[in-house]
């Protein structure tokens, strides 16, 4: 109002132009300021949502990891309790106090039976131990461990499995090898369980900075979008475990289908010097 009064008092038309120009400039300034404030709020809100989503994903992965560990412990506990425990108890029965009162032939028989049972128990414990850390992997490396695994699969006769390592002259850290082994083991298990594949082929390649492991199979597989979707749901514990192992390795995993739709590919990219 005061501006208009001042303008009314002014006789010249340029005063109106000046007044309108000033009002225009001030309006424009206020517009810019409000735009900046609201835009920043929008960006902040978006960033917060993104952060929350990332935290949720981490939480899912963490839960999956804990659940996986618990399942593994339960399996080991069950193996020890159900298999090793009864065997040792039976061996103890054979070697009870009455053995000294028995005939020498019966004594020998009891000792022999107890020895057999203890051997079985040793074998069982060895199997449990090998499932936790394959000795071939520890002693001879990933290439040998993978060949061993694929030979066993091949030996079962249900699947044609083959391995080819093209560039694995120097071994990477044992922890990295174990993670890669577990990832491939999980993938192979999934393929055997769900895909109804006729063959699995694993190839390894490397460049100066990264190692690449690629699994081919001709069964029913999944593609990247499905893998991402399963990773964000409570289902797919094994896939979450794969995702968390890949994250630990600072690597990437890619699920693809061949353009001809004849086979699926899973590629794992791992940096040669992973940061721990």
């Amino acid at each position: 109002m005061i501006f208009l009064q001042a303008a009314t008092g002014a006789s010249s038309g340029s005063n109106y132009i000046m007044l309108l120009g000033t009002l225009g400039m001030v309006s424009l300034t206020l517009g810019i300021v409000f735009f900046v404030i609201f835009h920043q709020r929008k960006v902040t809100r978006f960033n917060m949502e993104l952060k929350k989503m990332e935290e949720d994903k981490q939480q899912i992965l963490l839960n999956a990891s804990i659940k996986f560990q618990e399942e593994e412990r339960n399996r080991i506990a069950a193996d020890l309790h159900d298999d090793v425990g009864p065997l040792l108890a039976t061996a103890r029965l054979y070697l009870n106090e009455n053995i000294v009162n028995q005939e020498p032939a019966a004594q020998l028989q009891s000792i022999y039976s107890a020895k057999q049972i203890i051997d079985d128990a040793i074998q069982l414990i060895r199997n449990i131990s090998h499932s936790m850390m394959p000795p071939t992997l520890k002693n001879f490396g990933l290439e040998s461990a993978m060949s061993d695994l694929f030979q066993k699969i091949n030996g079962s006769g249900s699947l044609n499995a083959s391995v080819r390592f093209h560039d694995y002259r120097t071994r990477i850290k044992l922890e990295q090898e174990l993670h890669i082994f577990r990832i491939i083991q999980e993938l192979v298990n999934n393929i055997m369980k769900h895909s109804n594949a006729g063959f699995i082929h694993l190839t390894q390649n490397a460049n100066a900075t990264h190692s690449y492991f690629r699994l081919h199979h001709d069964g029913q597989g999944i593609i990247q979008t499905e893998f991402d979707r399963l990773n964000h749901t409570s289902a797919g514990l094994g896939l979450k475990n794969i995702a968390s192992r890949v994250k630990v390795l600072n690597g990437r995993i890619l699920f693809e289908i061949d353009p001809s739709h004849t086979y699926y590919k899973v590629t794992i990219e791992v940096p040669k010097e992973s940061v721990y």
Binding site: F3, A10, S12, L19, T29, H39, V43, I172, L174, Y276
Partner: protein, 203 residues
């Protein structure tokens, strides 16, 4: 400000020496330009900001003195350097906001003192731009002079209020930083850093 105001009033009102009064006004304008340039250079992310600041200050100083030599013999006061200053800082502040939009920061923009200072000067310069632009031709018009007083006074008050807000926010932020920066006297016990890598080496 007092350093410039007293000699300016002395020359203009007591000695009626327009040329020296204008010269002191120009010095004030140059100092204002340099200080504001320095302020915005601190907050801009532009790579060549220091070169840009130095070049713009030198150009402005040269332009102000050329204008002074042209205007000192004239009867009317020259507002052209003021218009140039307004335009320059409006553009700089708009660019400053553009950078703020580009780089998302965790602190809300309203919680930063530099934002309020920028808004204060943006309103001041944009509000006065047309005023200074038309001043030379219309300053003798009583209606225009009335408008000049109202507009200049209003934007100056708004600018001062916003600068006060900036000071309050700055003080509030400093208080928060001091509160956070206080030493916490808790015995954390002995701390041994973890070994870099305790994992067994591969065979």
């Amino acid at each position: 400000m007092v350093l410039f105001l007293i000699p300016s009033l002395y020359f203009k009102l007591i000695l009626n020496d327009r040329a020296h009064s204008l010269l002191i006004n120009r010095f004030f304008l140059i100092v204002e330009f340099i200080l504001l340039s320095e302020f915005f250079a601190c907050y801009l992310r532009l790579k060549a900001k220091h070169l840009f600041r130095v070049v713009s200050c030198i150009l402005f100083i040269i332009f102000s003195f050329i204008d002074y030599y042209n205007a000192k013999t004239s009867v009317e006061f020259s507002f052209i350097p003021l218009v140039v200053e307004c335009l320059f800082f409006v553009l700089v502040i708009v660019y400053f906001f553009y950078e703020k939009l580009q780089y998302s920061v965790s602190t809300p923009i309203l919680h930063t003192a530099e934002f309020w200072i920028s808004v204060a000067f943006l309103l001041f310069f944009s509000g006065n731009f047309f005023l200074f632009l038309f001043s030379k031709s219309s300053l003798n018009d009583p209606g225009f002079r009335e408008q000049y007083v109202v507009i200049y006074g209003s934007v100056t008050i708004i600018k001062d209020v916003l600068l006060s807000v900036a000071i309050v926010i700055r003080a509030y932020l400093n208080e928060g930083e001091n509160r956070l920066g206080k030493n916490i006297d808790i015995d954390l016990g002995s701390f041994y850093p973890l070994n870099k890598n305790t994992n067994p080496k591969p065979q």
